[in-house]
């Protein structure tokens, strides 16, 4: 059925191209039926792309090796889950996933907001169509998932490091995040293009933006956990360009989420927000480009991938078009309200934005500097962890501090005295924690100590917010304290959900500092019965074992773990040898101690013929707080995203008032 898949993609391309061109003309000339036609085209494109996706899925499930894509990414031995997940493990399939998600959520966003944002939708449709056209163009003419060949006996299989349950979740979640950022971009540019926008599109698309940002953030953490377990070097984030590719748009999206609040409430920062949302979208495209083309290996391997140049061209076009549109509408965007005081919540949001964007830019520079250097000077350089770690600390610490101070500062103008008073308790708590930690030996990492002190400050400030809020609610409404608490959060979801997210970020910081600043490592050769000591753990090598799995041979070293004389069981660490792919992968042993939130990390490097084994053992303190933070992050985001009946009613009233203005 490859023909059907190709046909579906061609039809989809025609539809989105029509949506772009006809939609643009209809919006410009104000033609109602033509716009409806273009909108229908967008909806229909989703159906067409879905059909193409189903064709590919069916081919994968059937092990139809006449599809070149199926043959190069799966094999007969590959378990079904991974076979289906190879939909997105290859270039063509992942482009198809991009287009599927784009047409899907694009259609949904347009359909749900058609009646609510009458001036913006006419422009959002062609913009979405244009973006989709690019991907459809690639799929039809450059990288088709439906290329055929003479079916070989078996396929080439999947890269062993991808054969992991995370492969099932990480890419789709990542894409929901990446592609999801298209929605606020399309609406923002649509608002600019229409020239007559009010701010309701921000309120209407707020949840879309928040959801995408949440998916992206969670996917980044999921990817980190995957790397932690699978690549197994003992760390959780390597500042690899592929990781940074997702981090950059997330940072800018975070900045956007904050400053758009200022626009909603104070009608300020409109130009800045337009720049931010365009930047976030371009970075998400750039991230896709980084992971698709071979450009991260070397600028010379750029030509190996067929689509690198296309992506770069598209990003340039998007950036240029957005810039042109913003400049064209500059008079409209100039706000009439000005920043009144450097000590105000508006200012705090502004500082937050500056640090986030600065951090995103340093990451961007770190990623492209090697390429620039090679292209311009002919000298290849590598930018390593020290560069990123330095700026992560330099920008991260002030950001954490702002998380604590921001919510305590009033809008417009806050007196330093009032701020000082609000900060008293949290600052006191932080100081106590800092001194205690110093006495406990945390001074070995000064940056870590400062980080922990700030973390304590923010957590205390957040706790104070919850306490004060609950107390006020209780004073108002009576009833029990838990009831007051739930009522407080229920009525102020954005604020308190936001606080939970902040707490999650602080938790992440605590975990990151723990593993980064306070870990221990030990390596050596162990004969059977020999022990090694790391931190307060003792590991004894008991022997090696072998096992045959579906598509690999597994070799493991069994080690007994004890701490302070107490037996903590055994761990298995070793290697897997994959037959079809002719590759070996490290399978590390991770023993998580949830009470201390630390991990014992064992890498069995080498099995010697004399029965001895070479191991590397690492103790990662507090690392599990990072994963916990991920869950708390999602929980906080869910609170903020939760539909609010009162808010809906208020918005409905506003839309009615606007509807009453509808044309005669």
């Amino acid at each position: 059925m490859p023909g059907l898949g190709s046909a579906a993609l061609v039809v989809a391309f025609g539809l989105v191209a029509y949506a772009a061109v006809a939609g643009g003309y209809a919006a410009h000339r104000g033609r109602r039926r033509l716009l409806e036609s273009a909108t229908n085209a967008l909806f229909a494109s989703f159906a067409s792309v879905l059909l193409a996706a189903l064709v590919l899925l069916a081919a994968l499930a059937r092990h139809d090796f006449s599809f070149a894509y199926v043959a190069s990414h799966t094999s007969r031995e590959l378990p079904l889950g991974y076979t289906l997940a190879s939909f997105w493990s290859g270039q063509e399939g992942s482009l198809l996933l991009w287009l599927l998600v784009l047409t899907g959520i694009g259609s949904a966003a347009v359909a749900l907001n058609r009646r609510l944002i009458r001036t913006v939708i006419p422009w959002t449709v062609p913009i979405l169509g244009a973006i989709a056209s690019f991907f459809a163009l690639l799929l039809v003419f450059v990288a088709s998932p439906f290329a055929t060949q003479v079916a070989p006996a078996d396929g080439a299989g999947m890269n062993p490091s991808l054969q992991n349950p995370y492969m099932l979740a990480h890419p789709p979640l990542l894409y929901l995040g990446y592609v999801g950022l298209t929605i606020p971009f399309a609406f923002a540019m649509g608002a600019l293009a229409s020239g007559r926008a009010d701010e309701r599109w921000i309120i209407a698309t707020r949840r879309w933006t928040l959801a995408s940002w949440t998916f992206l953030g969670f996917a980044i953490l999921l990817g980190a956990k995957w790397a932690y377990e699978e690549v197994g070097w003992g760390g959780w984030y390597a500042w690899d360009p592929v990781e940074n590719a997702a981090l950059m748009p997330w940072l800018v999206a975070t900045a956007y989420l904050h400053s758009v609040m200022v626009q909603e409430k104070k009608n300020m920062l409109r130009v800045w927000n337009a720049v931010l949302v365009a930047g976030a979208f371009c970075l998400s495209l750039f991230g896709t480009f980084l992971t698709r083309s071979g450009v991260i290996n070397s600028i010379h391997s750029f030509t190996q991938s067929s689509i690198g140049a296309w992506f770069l061209g598209f990003i340039a076009v998007v950036a240029a078009a957005s810039t042109a549109l913003i400049i064209y509408r500059l008079p409209l965007l100039r706000s009439r309200t000005r920043l009144e005081s450097l000590v105000s919540r508006e200012a705090a949001f502004l500082y937050n934005n500056l640090f986030l964007v600065a951090f995103a830019l340093t990451v961007l520079w770190g990623v492209i500097y090697p390429l620039v250097s090679e292209a311009v000077r002919g000298v290849a350089v590598t930018v390593g962890a020290p560069y990123y770690d330095f700026f992560a600390v330099a920008f991260g610490l002030p950001l954490v501090l702002l998380m604590g101070i921001g919510p305590l500062v009033a809008w417009r103008r806050a007196s330093l005295r009032a701020v000082g008073r609000s900060l008293l308790w949290p600052a006191g708590a932080a100081l106590i924690v800092g001194i205690l930690l110093l006495l406990a030996g945390a001074g070995s990492s000064p940056a870590g100590l400062v980080g922990y002190t700030f973390a304590a400050f923010v957590l205390a400030a957040i706790a104070l917010e919850f306490v004060r809020g609950t107390r006020a609610r209780h004073a108002l409404g009576g009833g029990s304290w838990p009831a007051a608490f739930t009522s407080l959060v229920g009525r102020n979801r954005r604020r308190y959900g936001g606080y939970v997210v902040h707490a999650a970020i602080v938790l992440l910081l605590v975990g990151a500092v723990g593993i980064g600043g306070f870990g221990t490592t030990q390596e050596g050769k162990l004969t059977q019965g020999q022990s090694v000591e790391v931190g307060d753990y003792t590991l004894t090598y008991l022997g090696s074992e072998q096992r045959r799995a579906a598509n690999s041979q597994e070799l493991r070293a069994r080690l007994a773990v004890s701490r302070g004389g107490e037996d903590l069981g055994t761990v298995l660490a070793g290697k897997n040898r994959y037959f079809a792919e002719q590759q070996t992968s490290n399978e590390v042993a991770i023993r998580s101690d949830w009470l201390r939130a630390e991990d014992l990390f064992v890498i069995a490097d080498q099995f010697n013929p004399d029965g001895s084994v070479f191991v590397k053992v690492i103790v990662n303190p507090l690392v599990n707080l990072i994963w916990l933070a991920g869950l708390l992050f999602v929980a906080g985001a869910l609170i903020t995203l939760w539909p609010d009946a009162r808010e809906q009613r208020r918005l409905a009233r506003r839309f009615d008032e606007e509807g009453a203005l509808a044309r005669a």
Partner: protein
């Protein structure tokens, strides 16, 4: 009431931009480890990092007395360099992969103690 003009924003933005520019210039000049091609290593005495593609069959083991012996070649070219490595072998190491090794040249052989494999493009065909 609201002050009509507030240069605050401009001042903040400019100062941050200035600080950032200084950082970037600093790192551009002093930062980044030079990464050489195998053809460029000869003559370098100190510690360097070399990037190339693994060719042929690696022999020995990284934790053995001899270390892991393999050859890397210029990504765009034919110059090769023999490498001896001791340490942890990362997951993705195999013939045909692009790797980066750090160490120094000793008697015509590059003795490395750090080995990093570049994330292979999961998205290009197996053949490339």
């Amino acid at each position: 009431m609201a002050r009509r003009r507030s240069p605050a924003r401009l001042v903040i933005a400019l100062s941050v931009a200035a600080a950032l520019a200084i950082f970037l210039v600093y790192t551009a000049l002093a930062g980044g480890t030079p990464s050489l091609r195998p053809s460029q290593v000869a003559g370098h005495d100190g510690r360097v990092s070399v990037a190339g593609k693994v060719v042929g069959q690696p022999s020995g083991t990284a934790r053995g007395p001899e270390g892991l012996r393999f050859t890397i070649k210029d990504v765009q070219g034919t110059a090769t360099l023999p490498v001896v490595y001791r340490g942890s072998v990362p997951d993705l190491f195999k013939t045909g992969r692009d790797v980066s090794v750090e160490g120094s040249l000793q008697n015509g052989v590059f003795v490395a103690d750090k080995l990093v494999t570049k994330c292979p493009s999961k998205y290009t065909n197996k053949q490339s």
